[in-house]
Symmetry: C2
Subunit: 412 residues, 2 copies
């Protein structure tokens, strides 16, 4: 490879973020490049789970809802996320799943733009975003429809009939990045609203929702935010819209006075009306603690390391990619990319299985993409170098032709 391992070692020695790696419980013998799918366990999260289980649930029981501020967690956690994505305090809650939150936000957008029938998205969006939009548009008696175009055609497709443009900033397969400011401005020029899915952005790169003047956003708690498997998701509503929305998922946690037990629904003021039912406290507490680390660092430093990690990895793989049929699926320009690097390979599934067999954990996305996430909090430059070397070794030795690596799991 064109870059020497010693160079990577030196880069780690000079890395101002290196101290964060020890905060995580990383398994031995593993290079974990799938934090964009499930972030690892922080030691502080481990301790918090002990506390919420034993001292709060176990000991305080029902009294913990007040005594340990469980009821406040959706807003407490929401505010911590808001600080990471430029959402502003009081404009974000953590609750439910990304899919359910997409439903809430799309329903809100359609309420606010009643004369416009189109939800516009792109074919690089994560499937659940498109499925939920189909569900929202397909309600009985609705004349709404979902229009899906190629990512580069979105700006040109924002016409008068578009109620809301729904995009994921970072493509889950390729890592391609949309220009949040530019597309939001274009949507507003056309009188449409803008909904961003930040699942692959939050904790991966700087986001400025209020600066971009976004209307709505959703995102995921279990990727770069390290909240644990299936951690609650989040949603953002710009303050100009919050009190104008009549939530279709009008549950008691979004009521003005949940404990008055009135029979009539009266939505709470502000972002709180976007809450619905009782949240999974164990999972939400894990996310709460996982977020504390972000106040110790500047996200622009994180972004800088993310770019250096992925540039190193691309440069290293470029040295043998052509020989083995690998082509870069991610943009070459780091500014046009998130914090992941993806390659296409005709035998991608087996190649990734062979890598996992060697302790290099990335993932595969059908039909032919192998995906490597570089979470700068715990990934070292030597990890990027070693991962490239392992990929070279797999392809050079044809390890992926081993039948063991070709058997597909029921779920991949």
């Amino acid at each position: 490879m064109t870059i020497r391992r010693d160079d990577a070692v030196r880069m780690d020695r000079d890395d101002p973020l290196a101290r964060f790696r020890a905060r995580f419980r990383l398994p031995d013998g593993v290079i974990y490049l799938d934090g964009n799918s499930l972030g690892p366990l922080l030691h502080t999260v481990r301790d918090r789970l002990d506390k919420v289980r034993d001292a709060e649930w176990g000991e305080a029981l029902i009294r913990a809802w007040n005594a340990h501020h469980w009821f406040d967690l959706p807003k407490t956690v929401g505010d911590k996320i808001a600080a990471l994505i430029g959402g502003g305090s009081g404009n974000v809650v953590a609750a439910d799943t990304t899919s359910v939150n997409l439903f809430k936000m799309l329903s809100a957008a359609l309420q606010l733009r009643p004369g416009r029938p189109v939800i516009l998205s792109d074919n690089g969006n994560f499937p659940t975003d498109l499925y939920i939009a189909e569900g929202v548009a397909g309600a009985a008696g609705s004349d709404r429809r979902l229009q899906i175009v190629a990512p580069e055609e979105v700006a040109g497709a924002i016409a008068d009939e578009v109620a809301v443009v729904m995009l994921t900033e970072i493509d889950y397969r390729s890592g391609r990045r949309h220009d949040m400011g530019e597309i939001t401005a274009r949507a507003h020029e056309a009188g449409a609203l803008m909904l961003w899915d930040l699942s692959h952005s939050a904790g991966a790169l700087p986001v400025d929702l209020l600066g971009a003047d976004a209307d709505f956003a959703v995102g995921c708690g279990y990727k770069y935010l390290n909240g644990g498997p299936g951690a609650p998701a989040f949603l953002f509503v710009h303050p100009r819209h919050q009190d104008k929305i009549r939530p279709p998922l009008s549950g008691w946690w979004g009521h003005e006075a949940p404990f008055a037990f009135d029979t009539d629904y009266r939505p709470a003021d502000g972002i709180a009306r976007q809450l619905c039912g009782t949240q999974p406290i164990l999972s939400l507490a894990a996310l709460d603690t996982a977020l504390d680390l972000w106040s110790e660092l500047d996200i622009t430093d994180l972004r800088e390391k993310s770019i250096r990690l992925s540039e190193l990895f691309i440069a290293a793989v470029d040295g043998f990619a052509g020989e083995f049929g690998l082509t870069l699926a991610s943009p070459r320009d780091p500014d046009a990319r998130g914090s992941q690097v993806s390659w296409r390979h005709a035998d991608g599934y087996a190649v990734m299985q062979a890598l996992i067999g060697r302790g290099v954990i990335g993932d595969f996305r059908a039909p032919d993409i192998i995906r490597f996430g570089f979470a700068p909090l715990y990934i070292r430059y030597v990890d990027a170098w070693d991962a490239a070397a392992a990929l070279n070794e797999v392809l050079a030795t044809k390890a992926h032709l081993n039948p063991e690596y070709r058997r597909r799991a029921a779920v991949t």
Copy 2:
């Protein structure tokens, strides 16, 4: 009191369910009569949470989705709950919140009865059920409406225009029980569908959804099922309807092939299409393990103990109720009651605070109800006796007039 404590001690000695109490981690000095709001921590659940956190998330990371069967948990847990409520294997999933599941089931019912505009419910229903029904009925352009009658008027109000009757079997305040078989039959006679909320039934008394021919059900994982704070909820769809429903919350976990990452939504066969987004695995794993205990007992034995506990408590409190302005809010007939006993007292909030100050934890429901849940797995007959004695002592000494007990928490 008319019953002696010795009698209660003897009843505990002869109790075939007594052995289950040691399975729970109950705080010292507490009589916990609020398991109908938040069930306590089982030792096995404590261990499972260690395992899912350290060995699964911490060690296997992303590989745990397959290796530790996380993807299967909604169905695995659903089948365990189905066994408790007569739902039949493959007809129940555990996911999301009771509120979100109510939205799914009401939307399904309205799809299946397109010409009928009314959701019928009663004013004893839990508020979130009514709020969600308002949300479903109030969608833009909808001619649907929610009709709320008194509990005893429900059967008579099931007219031709009713699409679905939505009831909670056990009233959350009074413990009053609806006749599931009778009302379901009446709904079907009128061509309507029947949706039961089992939040205060599952794990409290025998339920036979298929026997009653119910169409839909939802319920809660954190009350008598002991799944932990905000544990995922469940839903049941009768097999005759499962493949006819087009879920409005059409997320990727309900897709026929979630990992094909297709852009078109194609619902999975059967109950799986009622799944939507990624579930909170820590919370769902806790519920999964909490449910294992139920296979060791016969729920009719549990029901028998539940009735004996509440009859003992009522008899004991009856001895002083009149003197201190307490009136029974629950039905006198145990067959018409769930597993809780509620009393009205003009100063109910302060009375309950004074009891909690003495380690007897029940709860208060506005405006004047003090509520005592008898979860027979861990509540002893002496606990019921001691709770009655504590209530007598609070009222006789006017302890509830202490200003400390009169200050309302922001959330009660």
